[in-house]
Amino acid sequence: MLSMSTNNLSYSDQGGTDSAVEVGQETTPTSSNAGAGFGLFSVDFKKNEDLKEMLESNKESLKLEAMKRVVGLIAKGKNASELFPAVVKNVASKNIELKKLVYVYLVRYAEEQQDLALLSISTFQRALKDPNQLIRASALRVLSSIRVPIIVPIMMLAIKEAASDMSPYVRKTSAHAIQKLYSLDQDQKELLIEVIEKLLKDKSTLVAGSVVMAFEEVCPDRIDLIHKNYRKLCNLLVDVEEWGQVVIISMLTRYARTQFTSPWKEDGVFDEHNERAFYESDEEKTRDETEAKPYMMDPDHRLLLRNTKPLLQSRNTAVVMSVAQLYWHLAPKNEVSIVTKSLVRLLRSHREVQYIVLQNIATMSIQRKGMFEPYMKSFYVRSTDATHIKSLKLEILTSLANEANISTILREFQTYVKSQDKQFAAGTIQAIGRCATNISEVTDTCLNGLVLLLSNRDETVVAESVVVIRKLLQIQPTQHSDIIKHMAKLFDNITVPMARASILWLMGEYCERVPKIAPDVLRKMAKSFTSEEDIVKLQIVNLAAKLYLTNSKQTKLLTQYILNLGKYDQNYDIRDRTRFIRQLIVPNDKNGALSKYAHRILLAPKPAPVLESAYKDRDRYQLGTLSHTINTKASGYLELSDWPAVAPDQSVRNVEVIEPEWAPSLGKTGKSKPAKSSDDKFYSDSGEEEEEEEKGSGSSSSEDGSSSSSSSEESGSDAESHVQKNSSQSSEESDKSSSQSEKSSSESDSEKKERKTKTPLQKKTVKPTAKDGYHTIMEHIFNEESWTYVTKNQHTKTIFVNVINQHSVLQTFSYSHWSTLCVSLFTQLCPLSLAFPLQLSGPAFVPEKSHDLLHRMTGKGLSAQYQFPRQPCLYQPTMVSVQISLTNTTDHPLEQIHIGDRSPTGLNIHCFNTIECLEPEASVTVFIGIDFNDSTQAANFQLCTKEDHFSVSIQPAIGELLLPITMTELDFRKLLGMNESSATITMAAENMTSQPISRPVATVANLGMVPSSQDNVHRFAGKTASSGAVVLVTVELRESSTALITINTEKSVMGSMLLRDLKLALAQT
């Protein structure tokens, strides 16, 4: 027994932050636990003994059985800590379920048994290096959940490593671990912020929510960390998992309030109140007002509003609520009402959800009646609603009441008054009272109605009515003597003390209006004084005093009698009051001075009570928060700041060139695709000089990607930056997924010089020779002033610069040389999409096959063919390059051949330069880049000549959307955790024998070979052009000419399509 109770004690101490208050409260449950435990105790003790034996046995099943019982003990809140040594031995078990249960146990008890817990650490450290990402992640989860301060350095190390893991799932886990470590040891804050900063840059939707959560917990004040990631977060938001969305939205709400100016009115919050007072809910006027003053919404502000809007349709109520509060706090007044419908929809969810949503609507409806008025019926009370729901609905209905709808609302209220739920009926009467004061037209009607309620059978209803009538009469004291008389008549039947007290107070206050009745009431009261409740007694004394002052002739004796009764009352207050009143009203020698003022003291005009909503002041808390719900500041509540008077520098959100990337932004190419994750090392290596130049040069993101040319929309803040010299530079903009898309030029001096030398090239016109295909592509690159690259490899740069210098030499470059050069450059300059380098490699095989784009018959003599040269696209890395050969089969020259309209409209094509003239029988080869967005959807566009337009379309095979990469076999295996699709096929005979398997695979898809240690297994790797997702293909040859094709990629749709193509190519036909 003794040990049991100590266990219980130590158990309660673990509460840690629980204070003495709770410990004090705890006595009851503890003792009851102990009591309950007592009977079982001896049994328990034995059980635990045999648990120990089971855990130490050799049989897995026994161990598992034991652990299950241990977990049962934990779940019941029983102490199982003495089993720690036996349990911890099983931490390295092979059985997954056993292992999991041991983890559960460890996390629960490690804090108490720190020394023993350390025994398990090495197991986790080993697991952190496991090739399987899930094992790495779960090891980190458990390691970071063991709250043992001594392992802080180990945790720190593990978190740092996991933060640069290549699996986004592990990175997500590391974001969670940050919070755990921080709550264990706040000294790690600075180091943890570094990790957060790094993870904030992560582009995986999996990580975003978790890292923002960590940010909110560790360093919510470091708003500067958000700037650079703001646009990315906005754009990712729709794809983040629902819980992460809530966290991100609430963080962005705070962010926006510090960074943008008020969209409501120029001078902020003060005016907000004015508006309310002057215009009530008149939205029209508010809008006019705002429009009158020049207000330009920051495009980033707009971006946030636009990207959160679709989330109003989430099934997760927390997401909907968080979007609603975002609109409430950030959107222009006339836009807020788009959240109404969604909020009302939430009212059909669970009771608890309704409760929170109604609270928020209650606050909103005070300021903006117009928002919810059309949905008034949704707030009608149903008899099945819980009491707190009912009173909230009542609250909202009262706030929504106006002259137009009051009769409907009052009729609804009448039914509520009859409700069986008396607390609710009383609330309704108060609500009627509020309506009566707010809307002067119905005051009389309400008053009459309330008077009728005085004859109601139910006491509570009557009492509440009296109280409300009293308040109403106080507001409008004129000509209501009838009502007072009526109440006096009912007085005998009313038993609720508060109601009786109210009537007495009314009598006293307005005794001059009912000169005959008041003394009579006093007479009755004198009789029953001793049996009244205290509050009634106090009012009797008051009434007596007031009557004494106004009508002393009739009431003098009565008053004295009552005062005498009061003098000997049991209650202090009544004795005190009596003494005070007597001194005040009965003149004697000592206090004559005061009694002169007695009339003025007792019968002073009293201010009318203000009947207002309990939710009036709630708007000081951010909507949707816990603080708002409980109407007090919860710990950890982050204040929403007021709008800044002047917007802080907008350019901080511009994203710099973060990684070396070769992004010649040619002409108005429209959207550029996002580059993959940044690499700091690269960045710092690229030299101070360049870095400085880059700082101011990021072009600001502008409106949606639908309008592709936006060079004129550059924000003024960028004007000084030298990049502006290159007008074409500024045409970039961010689209749905590109927050980091802006690439700016950062030429070194030498490059600037180069530009001068190459200027003459621009004037060159295209000659229709076969060779000029290559020429054209060169033109494209060198034509533009703005082609840019950042590289640490000076050597390459020089080569390239030399290449430019010797333009003539270039003409002689053979195609293959050129492509090799491109590839090598690309490899060095290409962004690194993963934590380890994905080397782009040259295509293993370029199929010769060309496809008809435009037949000469349909093209009125212009014929076009296309093929996929499988080169990385020079214009933008996300594009697939397509080689088009144009031939003029007519007998007259064709002029101005160019690309016209395209569909879908968002399609991103890099066009070739207009071919001014194509002579008869001549042909020209041009290159275009198409961003297929990793889908096989056809790119439709118009091929135009001076006279005609021809609609053409290019439908890529799935294999053409890939770019080959090289990697080691080890890396390949590590990455296999992605989605898998596989199929077994029977190989065609010729594929088995005559040629290596790589050939048909390479024909189908643009993949690179990965060296393989096994003869029968062939591996290929590539990445998708648009999103850079890795695609891994394994072909395993088996006996009897079958083969297993496995495709691993997170683009699961692409995976299955590629599998289909590969099956076709390899299988027997």
Partner: protein, 453 residues
């Protein structure tokens, strides 16, 4: 010093008699004495539903939901959106229900290990980790009788042997490697109509809550699109996360890679009065006379605007006034039942034949000497209409991309009565007349008889 950590700290499961029967802590242990504040609120509440969902205590905040007569009490230490916690708790209950079929105290106690494993996976450090049932089922197999037997014999486990892959992909709600021999996709459009009808038969409120529940058993990674004949009806919708918002906004087409198995694709709401056709009408006359110990009861119902589909499973119920001692009624079809204790009258009508309308007529005996009852009873109706969605929503077509096979596709429509009430003739308060008098000029269109429920 420990900082107040955000999100969910601990979870206590409390039964209706106020016992904690399960506790789970994601951070340091919080003493169960914190629940005393909850018990206090529980005692104060007249009904179990009336316990406030958010209870502040000196050092913690308790956020609770009540489902299946179990309180799920989450302990919070600092600011967190309350809906976040509430939504999560409901998700926990849904998961339990999904796993154990029912969510009762007994089921939870029997499966305590699975419950613990689930809770462990669903939250990490108090932040939701895996809440998709597809993923959870891959991690932890739901218990079945067969598996339990096999497990005890062979010593194998509920925990998935293979590590799940879905969570790591861009389609976190779908597990990979799904294989079926029969590929099929079923969609059920189920609409519930909530209405309040007054005695004259005019509609006071009517709205339709619709859902599309799907049961998709398709191999691989199918990419589905579902289009509607009349998508404009759906202007108030909420989606499963798999639905692509952008596509819906641009083209009004539902495009999604479905989770495997059963899930709710979307729920919608049609509130516009004139869009909602009321499929049934009720004529009733319930009268009590002052001083008499008899009351008359007459009720007839019939179909209306059902688009040729029959009304089925019709059930009438009404809470008669306390003064009614017994009834002597005569149904033209079906069976009726009156419980003299609860005063609940129910009439199981069954199918309605439009040629021969069902009726229930007779007398009620009242307590002698009791005064005439205050209120006339409201009448609740339940019914079903197969093969029809009341709002008129129609699925146009379902297409599948990304996989080669031809799936079997099915769609079913159904309408049910939700909270469908018919009000009795009014016996309102006196002051209705005053108001109506005053506002008659302004609001002539507002009907009398709105005043009772």
């Amino acid at each position: 010093m420990q900082l107040p950590a955000k999100m969910i700290h601990s979870l206590f499961l409390v039964n209706s008699s106020g016992d904690i029967f399960l506790e789970k802590h994601w951070k340091s242990v919080v003493s169960r004495s914190v629940c005393d504040y909850f018990f206090e609120a529980q005692e104060r509440a007249s009904e179990p539903e009336n316990v406030p969902p958010v209870i502040p205590t000196p050092h913690h905040y308790l956020i609770s939901v009540l489902r299946h007569r179990i309180y799920f009490v989450a302990v919070i230490q600092s600011e967190v959106p309350p809906l976040f916690v509430i939504e999560f708790l409901h998700r926990v209950v849904d998961t339990f229900q999904d796993y154990f079929g029912v969510c009762t105290e007994a089921a939870i106690k029997d499966n305590v290990v699975v419950v613990y494993e689930l809770l462990e996976e669903m939250l990490d450090n108090g932040f939701p980790l895996a809440t998709e049932s597809n993923i959870l089922k891959e991690l932890i197999k739901p218990p079945t009788i067969l598996r339990t037997v096999v497990n005890t014999i062979t010593g194998s486990t509920n925990v998935g042997e293979q590590l799940p892959t879905g969570q790591l992909s861009v389609v976190p709600w779908r597990r990979t490697g799904v294989k079926y021999t029969n590929n099929e996709a079923y969609f059920d459009v189920v609409e519930e109509i909530d209405a309040i009808i007054d005695k004259s038969g005019s509609t006071i409120t009517a709205e339709i809550q619709g859902v599309i529940d799907a049961c998709v058993k398709l191999t691989g990674m199918p990419d589905l699109t579902l289009s509607f004949m009349n998508p404009r009806l759906l202007d108030d919708v909420s989606f499963h996360p798999c639905v692509r918002f952008k596509r819906w906004e641009a083209e009004r087409i539902l495009s999604f890679i479905p989770p495997d198995g059963n899930f709710r694709l979307l729920s919608y709401h049609v509130s516009c009065q004139n869009l909602v056709a009321i499929p049934v009408y009720v004529k009733h006359n319930i009268t009590f006379r002052e001083g008499s110990s008899q009351g008359r009861f007459e009720l007839t119902l019939g179909p209306k605007q059902t688009m040729g589909k029959g009304l089925e499973a019709v059930l009438i119920s009404s809470q008669l006034p306390r003064g009614v001692l017994n009834t002597n009624l005569n149904p033209s079809q079906g069976t009726y039942n009156f419980d003299p204790v609860t005063k609940l009258l129910s009439w199981d009508v069954g199918k309605i034949n439009p040629q021969k309308l069902p009726s229930l007529k007779g007398s009620m005996s009242l307590q002698a000497g009791a005064s005439k009852p205050d209120e006339n009873p409201t009448i609740n109706i339940q019914f079903k209409i197969q093969q029809s969605a009341l709002s008129g929503l129609k699925v146009n077509r379902l297409d599948m991309y990304g996989e080669k096979y031809k799936p079997f596709k099915g769609i079913k429509y159904m309408t049910k009565a939700g909270k469908f009430q018919v009000l009795p003739a009014g016996t309102g308060l006196g002051f209705k007349k005053i108001i109506q008098y005053k506002y008659r000029t302004k609001h002539t269109s507002l009907q009398e008889g709105l005043n009772t429920t």
